[in-house]
Symmetry: C2
Subunit: 89 residues, 2 copies
DNA sequence: AAAGTATTTAGATATTTATCTAAATATTAA
DNA sequence: TTAATATTTAGATAAATATCTAAATACTTT
């Protein structure tokens, strides 16, 4: 839970997630869309992976990143405890 | 949105929100439940207030804090864009 | 095997953040 | 009005984080 909130507490990382929502991308493709060095993006991807928000698969020379939405559910539940959406009737 | 994620990226602050879910509390009552100094708790409350997650009302000598759930909706929507819960049928 | 490409790891640095103590402000009670 | 209580503000410090460049690793192509 901690790692999840930590991972989401950065605009670059949230933007990466939104990109991956559209389609899977390689580390390089992601880096190319930011004015940030590749090592920095690599680090962001690592944090997203640690939080379980993305999954990486090696495809030859490339590493493809894709979204893992199941982890979002945990967060969804946490938020719903505060909202009225969880009231019966 | 940035302030919202920032505010939630701290276990103490998340715990404060869970306390306020049960009932409104004064700054002192909140501080008493942690082994953290009052100024530090005051600072956490300030960040929560900046994010719109809590509202404070002065009641004489005390300041009462209460949850503001409406802000959570914004976050809920952000998360739902990734989940399958928003698919039609 | 050597060169090129993709990505990560290592190490450094500047900024942000959580925390503390001391002091300031504001309200209540004596 | 003085003392006590509640909370915040100010200023300092240690730890965490985002970023960079340089180097290492791993795969592919020639």
């Amino acid at each position: 839970m901690n790692k999840l909130f930590k991972a989401l507490n950065d605009p670059t990382r949230r933007e990466i997630l939104e990109m991956l929502k559209e389609k899977d991308l390689t580390a390089g493709e992601i880096a190319d869309r930011f004015h940030i060095s590749k090592p920095s993006i690599s680090h962001h991807l690592d944090l997203l992976r640690q939080a379980g928000l993305v999954v990486s698969v090696k495809e030859g020379q490339f590493i493809s990143y894709s979204l893992n939405t199941t982890v979002m559910d945990e967060m969804l539940q946490w938020i719903l405890q505060f909202t009225n959406n969880n009231k019966s009737s």
